[in-house]
Symmetry: C2
Subunit: 475 residues, 2 copies
């Protein structure tokens, strides 16, 4: 554990508040730029990240918080960071929920009997052992449910049919995902017995997309499953017949006591212990159906590989590069929330946070979130990404799910946006496996992050503080 003392924190805070950025056209000296370019080129020829991803998906695989796979992932990460020469490698304990997936059975029994493929949403409760059989009422969205009279829902299974739109932007996921988290709660309030949602995903594979859901305190807990898109189509075709459609579902998922997991941390120490740190993060946990390859083994691989390249430089960077592999992003952000809580006192000493958690796909842009005075520095950094085809696209970065918790502490954050067109074909499904990841994309993302991390670590005045904002939601 490397925590600054309170005195050091105060000094760093003063530095962060008082420093003003260089307004010179080129804030970086030639040697720094030259090193950044060399790191960028090395990243494009280095398969450390891809090799790490192969190792994680082969030797660990699924690692949902609280499960044995999660514990194996923590052990794997500690061993790998040590083997790669990181300093201060340690685990920071995090309490995580432990939900145990059951084996769902879901079938249409009338008008035309057919089995369907569904997956239980994370946090759902079991049906009675004999299952639930009820007529289905189909709606598109939460808004449409709210317009129904209560007696249209009572005693029914509610089906939410909205289909996620394919898009390069993650915004289409944001527009579709609400029903996963709250569909069951809202249906339960109206007396529904169970909920089926169309998977929040863009593929036509016969696998469901899981993800977290939650009930408010006073809501009756009812089972909630996601149907694969082709099964949602089938259900809609039967509903379109105008005949009552009756579904039977059975599931034996259960909650266990919360468990211990850990954020895994490793550092490339900086040459100036008072200069603070640059945090590069990803989440170590994954949903349990796939191998967590794009989500977020890729982020673990990319950020670790980027930090290691800086660690291989003949000279240390000014600031420490700290890799944080967060526990349990998927099921409530407990790792990032614990990290933000435990490290709030040293927030002023964190110059920058970045996270990779949108798969190893082609970068489409670089967003920053700094006070405007620092934008010339950001633009100078961005110039080094342009040979990678990546432009600075705005100052609206969020830090994404985990590093967003640091942004909420006023820490500047950068996002590398990636082309999400194919990500939601795989996301939270059994198909999120190693074979889906293109090693060239791992290298390209690593090149972006290593360039930014190094420049942020070297730039003496730092990046100031970011305007505070609400933390981003989980993905």
């Amino acid at each position: 554990m490397l925590k600054p003392t309170c005195a050091a924190s105060a000094a760093l805070l003063a530095l962060a508040l008082c420093a003003t950025p260089s307004l010179a056209a080129e804030p970086f000296d030639a040697a720094t730029l030259s090193t950044a370019r060399a790191l960028r080129e090395r990243a494009l020829a280095d398969d450390t990240g891809y090799d790490l991803l192969r190792s994680l998906t082969t030797e660990v695989g699924p690692r949902l918080c609280g499960t044995p796979g999660d514990a194996r992932a923590v052990a794997w990460a500690l061993a790998r960071l040590k083997a790669l020469g990181f300093a201060n490698v340690h685990a920071e304990p995090v309490r995580v929920p432990h939900w145990i997936r059951g084996t769902p059975q879901v079938e249409i029994v009338a008008p035309w009997k057919q089995p369907m493929v569904g997956v239980t949403l994370g946090g759902s409760v079991a049906t009675p052992p004999e299952g639930i059989e009820a007529d289905v009422i189909g709606v598109t969205t939460l808004g449409e449910l709210a317009l129904l009279p209560a007696d249209a829902v009572r005693g029914k299974i509610v089906y939410f049919g909205n289909r996620m739109r394919r898009s390069a932007s993650v915004a289409s996921y944001g527009a579709a995902v609400g029903v996963r988290g709250r569909g069951a709660g809202e249906a339960s309030k109206r007396g529904a017995l169970g909920v089926l949602i169309r998977s929040v995903g863009t593929d036509d594979d016969r696998v469901g997309h899981t993800g977290g859901m939650r009930f408010e305190k006073d809501e009756t807990r009812i089972p909630a499953l996601a149907l694969s898109n082709p099964d949602a189509d089938l259900l809609e075709r039967q509903l379109a017949s105008g005949q009552p459609v009756r579904v039977r579902l059975r599931d034996d998922s259960q909650w266990a006591d919360s468990a211990w997991s850990a954020n895994v941390v490793g550092e490339i120490p900086g040459r100036d212990p008072r200069a603070g740190v640059v945090v590069v993060g990803a989440h170590l946990d994954s949903w349990d159906l796939g191998q967590g390859a794009h989500d977020d083994g890729a982020g673990v691989a990319i950020m670790t590989a980027a930090a290691r390249l800086i660690g291989q430089l003949p000279a240390r960077p000014r600031r420490t590069i700290r890799v944080v592999l967060f526990a349990n992003e998927e099921f409530g952000l407990s790792g990032a929330r614990t990290y933000a809580r435990d490290h709030a006192a040293e927030a002023a000493g964190i110059t920058l946070g970045m996270e990779s958690d949108l798969g190893a796909y082609a970068p489409t842009g670089f967003q920053s979130r700094v006070t405007p005075a620092y934008l010339p520095v950001v633009h100078a950094m961005a110039r080094l990404l342009e040979p990678l085809g990546v432009k600075h696209t705005g100052n609206e970065a969020s830090g994404d799910a985990d590093v967003g918790q640091l942004y909420a502490l006023g820490i500047p954050v950068f996002d590398i946006d990636t082309d999400a067109s194919e990500y939601f074909d795989l996301h939270h499904t059994p198909n999120d496996t190693f074979d889906k990841v293109d090693p060239a994309m791992v290298r390209l993302n690593t090149a972006c992050y290593v360039t930014l991390a190094y420049l942020a670590a070297e730039y003496a005045p730092g990046l100031g503080r970011a305007p505070r904002a609400a933390p981003a939601a989980g993905r």
Copy 2:
């Protein structure tokens, strides 16, 4: 039942043997050609086939021989053929095997514990209730297994890793599929406890490809599963570590008594009862994991729609068009074999057989199998397919799996080859669902078959007899 009498059969046989084709440059008169062109154009604007496919996949779905879905499919087909105005609609009983799929569990237990996704091969036997746990020996092909010393296999689980090559031609399936049918038998002979094969399929989805397998009489029956391609990759990555890889598998599949199914037949009666029939076929059964949309709901839809278009003509065709929807193609061709046995005596009265069983994809060519004297007639037929982008590519048609049984009786056959590049992504998996089928491709295939069926029905001299050959293998 419309069966010619023996006397009629003899007359037809004499006709078939004695008739010689017209050697005129254009064997068809202008009215026939005009009607054929009109049928072709109508097919391109007619969604009867697609609507049938929607109905079959929505109202029946999976229909493996011997299961309740199979019986529902027979009832569906009888009702639909009647509703579409076919004559002589009837079921011809077929005895079929009845195998009941279990719920397989397969996991790597060492060196790195991970679950795998596998499906039981049709005809496999259960493991003991406690499962089988053994070290894995990996080979690529049956040939490679044969080279191993017996003690390398005894007590092991054999894994066959050959990956099917993606290709527009079905030949790459033929090259890969042998291991599915005989991998378990050959491994069992050498003392293996169980078999895993890499799915015979070209996708990277986390679903296995099922299909039939068989044991010779004296072989010990051992369980056989197909791993999804990503799981086969995972197993190979663990094997590549050089450490012993131990797998546990459990399955409770079982055999039941054989059951009754049926070939479903409907006719568009010809105007000359002595002129014989043109058989257009597809198989009604499907594997149990998907909806049997491409395999072979599409064929059922295409052939039924083609025959119906001829039935809607103001005048009857010379010959009867007979739709035969075969029982159980998938698990031993019992429907086609029963049909060929029961109708052998009227073989001389069957002018032509055609089958659609390679999915609703773009036609890539038209193959015939006639004696060379009839090729000018075939070429004249082919000229009407050219506006559809389909050329006559040879005289090597097989009739495929079911109609191949008619070809074995000397009946001429035509094949429309289709682009199989994507077919084996879905084939025998849960992903063979309605949404994967392009209605334009259903129409295009219907246009090909209706043109050929009509011209063959009208051409007075018929197409002679085909050289006999061994029946094609199942698909």
